[in-house]
Symmetry: C2
Subunit: 381 residues, 2 copies
């Protein structure tokens, strides 16, 4: 397998854009990535495009408006892991030698979609859904259980959101750009006890794109290619096979595969963008990703280890909590953030001397399965 590098990244600002169609957001991200790479639309040989809540062939529409036609385009969907899936498949087609230059795009408009964020009745056959056990309810039960068995308090969980909202303030792509105290977070609107609004990611519109090439080709375009050291997507197992609903087995297995692929361990990671869909998840993912043992996760946060100036900054972009979560765009945007960090282009949120970064994306609600898919990427310079 050939080494694959990222030579260009682009993103829209994340936020609410009721005037922009899904494919228009996609085009904006594609154009930004082309400009960043210094590459012509005609050089793109193939594309993967992640979207969940749009119509048909959104990728073809978005790429067309950036001048990219007449190539193999595959639209992918893996719920919130769709963007990471697009990157994984683009990586593989280059690593295996099928193509030399490709683009992975993720785009979502939660605002203009006719279905996103609406109260959709449970799918036929979704017995848990018919009992009212929707995604929010599951996350709330899991958080309650986690608080019970770990002794972690709501005040400590809120500190994840405090940190990420602080980071988001200095990120020009971020949706919120506002500081919140632990008190603000706990006292915000109750969504599903014990989860409040500011412990949750918001509904967001946005898109991101990354351009990948073989390492040989990359050297033609940049003196600082960012290398993809690992790219993993895997689906979850039956929920009944999980020993603990507060531990994401699929994340644990996915990241284990990524470390093996990269030939490194969690101790080698300099920074991380992880899937903080809810504040509590960040603490749980510290453990699953191997950053600490169970019981040490609160200390990692409270001691500042995961602050931008700490030993292992987590979500320097602001994460899903502050930067926002346009579902299919998130996995691509996380990778764009790591690329900016590894290149030293992250501005006020720059992590010093970072050489190796990890992204983690988790998604997909399927009854009886713990999750639809996890995506893990390890990038290095």
């Amino acid at each position: 397998m050939r080494e694959v590098a990222i030579i260009g990244v682009g993103s829209t600002v994340f936020g609410k854009f009721p005037e922009k169609a899904i494919f228009e957001l996609g085009t904006e991200a594609v154009q930004a990535a082309l400009k960043d790479a210094g590459i012509s639309p005609k050089d793109i040989q193939f594309a993967y495009y992640a979207n969940l809540y749009g119509g048909m062939v959104e990728g073809q529409a978005a790429l067309r408006d950036a001048g990219i036609t007449d190539i193999e385009i595959t639209n992918v969907e893996n719920a919130c892991t769709g963007g990471a899936t697009a990157v994984r498949r683009t990586w593989y087609d280059i690593a295996s030698g099928l193509y030399d230059i490709g683009i992975a795009v993720g785009s979502e408009s939660m605002t203009t979609s006719p279905i996103a964020g609406k109260l959709i009745p449970p799918a036929k056959g979704d017995l848990s859904g018919e009992l009212g056990m929707n995604t929010m309810a599951k996350f709330a039960l899991s958080q309650r259980r986690y608080m019970d068995i770990s002794g972690v308090t709501l005040e400590q969980i809120a500190m994840v959101s405090v940190k990420n909202h602080h980071n988001g303030c200095a990120n020009p792509y971020s949706q919120y750009k506002k500081e919140f105290s632990a008190e603000d977070i706990i006292n915000s609107r109750l969504i599903c006890d014990p989860i409040t609004q500011l412990q949750s990611c918001s509904t967001t519109d946005g898109a991101a794109a990354v351009i990948l090439t073989s390492l040989n080709v990359a050297r033609r375009y940049t003196r600082k290619p960012v290398i993809i050291a690992a790219s993993v997507i895997r689906g979850g197992d039956y929920a009944f096979r999980q020993k603990d609903i507060t531990f994401s087995d699929v994340t644990y297995k996915g990241v284990k595969g990524a470390y093996t692929m990269a030939g490194i361990g969690p101790e080698d990671i300099n920074l991380c963008e992880l899937h903080d869909a809810f504040a509590v998840n960040e603490l749980q993912h510290y453990v699953e990703l191997g950053f600490c043992e169970r019981g040490e996760e609160v200390a990692l946060l409270m001691d500042g280890v995961t602050n931008i100036k700490g030993r292992l900054p987590v979500n320097p972009s602001g994460g899903l909590l502050s930067k926002g979560h346009p579902l299919s765009a998130t996995g691509v945007a996380q990778i764009a953030e790591i690329v900016w960090q590894l290149r030293g282009q992250a501005g006020k949120n720059q992590v010093p001397d970072a050489k190796v970064g990890l992204t983690h994306t988790l998604g997909g609600e399927v009854a009886d399965l713990e999750a639809g898919a996890v995506g893990v990427h390890i990038l290095k310079v």
Copy 2:
């Protein structure tokens, strides 16, 4: 690249199943393919799942209920070419050596989807759509133009539908199973002049699945593996670059790539399942696929060359017109039909002595692009 073979195929009956969810149809097809291959769910190492009008991670739900979890699953969408896209990506992951055994599934429920077949307002930015230039209108204008420049009559076009409905009568998987005369077809309800209802494919629910392995692995399971000699997906170019709206450039380029990949030409094809979304398309595709020159297509049909007992049977299954068109399932179902034919298992519709078959799937309406994607597969024994 390794040779890749198909060791199992499965399909639901095509029709209207208001009681079945999309993923339930998918599970049924997966189980049929597993049974046909004589393989355990645990042996499936990865999957691609095509769906357009469903919710999130439909593939994970369908595969879970067939006992397949804990693997890499990628949900894909390429409008009507989604199923062919799933097969193409499954083929490539095995051909390139990433995996040994995988499944490609396509599933669609036009009946239970909350959006399929509904009159959806044109997407933001779709100026043609806002002018009323929807898919039906485009196909109707194209058919009118084709009739004008070629002299082909409505009676001749109707004979495509007569042939395919005749074929569908003997196919147990077919939706219609009813003979129609040219008069029936011309006098059926006018949809968009000159297209009548029986010149159009219908709205259909159904799913199909194919299990692919490396040729070495295939020999463990079957003495008659069907080999994938070519697998191509490509997207369309700008419409303004087309010289003729009655000729599908993307089909022409896609099939040219497939013939090159397989090292054969159109004269080597023994049977074909092609994308007869409208009756007129079958005549047009004869030319684009290289079966004859422009001007000879009506003779190919009227002389019986494309009948089941002819030299080059086309749509022995009944095609989209009679078998039905559950969008994302179609590309997979076409391949299942060719596999049955090449194995000699096609029952009353068996094409004698077929060794090489071709499938053609076309899909995706994108303003200013001639099409979203074309899929071409060549199978051989």
